[in-house]
């Protein structure tokens, strides 16, 4: 199944949840914010939110800035 992750296409397993994907990517939940199809995803939903074909996912975090 293919989604768009941070602007690039990515193959993921069927039934993969956001929490699962973050774990696979070795990204700590508390350090990021996730946007699914232009809607911000509350952290408590990560576990139940199952990804679908064509989803557009943005995973962002804080970096140094002025």
């Amino acid at each position: 199944m293919t989604i768009t992750l941070n602007g690039k296409p990515r193959e993921i397993a069927d039934g993969m949840t956001v929490a699962g994907l973050l774990q696979e990517l070795r990204i700590e939940q508390k350090q990021v914010v996730v946007e699914r199809n232009a809607a911000i995803l509350p952290k408590q939903r990560y576990a139940e939110e199952t990804l679908a074909e064509g989803d557009i996912l943005e995973i962002v975090h804080f970096v140094g800035g002025g």
Binding site: N6, V33, V63, G65
Partner: protein, 256 residues
């Protein structure tokens, strides 16, 4: 020194610090500590999927510093609003340094989109600190729209040119009832002191600290510069004059 109050919240320091462009997290933290700042700005970016690395947040003591997310990268109001909301969702308090810079070269702010975004974010409950050109009329309109401060630029970001917009900033300060924070272009403590002497309520510095040979020491230098300028403003500065005036008495000379 007297307190700085933004949106009802008190700050002892009048120096905000940006966290960009530092050679290391250690250098960044040294600058923050040296400056005694209480407000630090951060940016939002995509995680590098192939190499998430660790978060810079791990190095910032949230009990000591208020995190002020900026909307850098936003080219219009919509993108700015989106970034502000993502930052809030990340667990930050609803404060945002609003930046809308369509021009990728000089990174100057767009007055139209900035006002539009400010109106949306204020309604949405954000404490909005907009980064603007030194435009007194725009500053007034943002104040009327309910922003918590205005942040006029002293000179283009990263140029270290100091307060090149002196005349306009003086008018903005004169007309503002919200705090005026001079942002961008302050390359030396004397620049920060000058802004404060004019009556600015605070300044924001980043590049000057990040490029210094010793960021921690430069942070301390800016802290003193800001305090010097504020103290001088409160102590009542004399006006410049064309006519020279002796500091020693003009009578009692031996040759009289």
């Amino acid at each position: 020194m007297d307190k700085l109050v933004i949106a009802g919240r008190e700050f002892t320091s009048r120096l905000m610090v940006g966290t960009g462009k530092f050679s290391s997290n250690a250098a960044m933290v040294a600058a923050m500590e040296g400056s005694a700042t209480e407000i630090v700005t951060v940016a939002l970016r995509r995680v590098d999927i192939d190499n998430p690395g660790d978060s810079m947040l791990a190095h910032i003591d949230r009990s000591r510093y208020l995190l002020l997310p900026n909307t850098s990268g936003a080219r219009d109001a919509e993108e700015a609003v989106r970034l502000a909301r993502l930052a809030r969702a990340a667990g930050c308090e609803p404060w945002v340094k609003l930046e809308v810079t369509p021009d990728p070269y000089y990174l100057l702010p767009d007055p139209i989109e900035t006002l539009k975004a400010a109106e949306i974010l204020v309604k949405d409950g954000f404490v909005v600190l907009p980064y603007i050109n030194a435009d007194p009329v725009l500053a007034k309109r943002l104040q009327e729209a309910g922003t918590a401060t205005v942040m006029p630029l002293g000179s283009p970001i990263g140029t270290n040119k100091g307060v090149r917009t002196r005349d306009s900033i003086a008018i903005i300060i004169e007309q503002a009832i919200i705090p005026v924070v001079v942002d961008a272009g302050l390359g030396a403590p004397s620049h920060a002191a000058e802004a404060m002497e004019m009556g600015a309520d605070a300044v924001l510095v980043n590049t000057a600290l990040a490029v210094a040979d010793e960021p921690g020491r430069m942070g301390a230098a800016f802290r003193k510069g800001v305090e010097a300028g504020r103290e001088a403003f409160l102590a009542g500065l004399g006006a410049p004059s064309e006519r020279a005036e002796a500091s020693s008495p003009l009578t009692g000379f031996l040759h009289e």
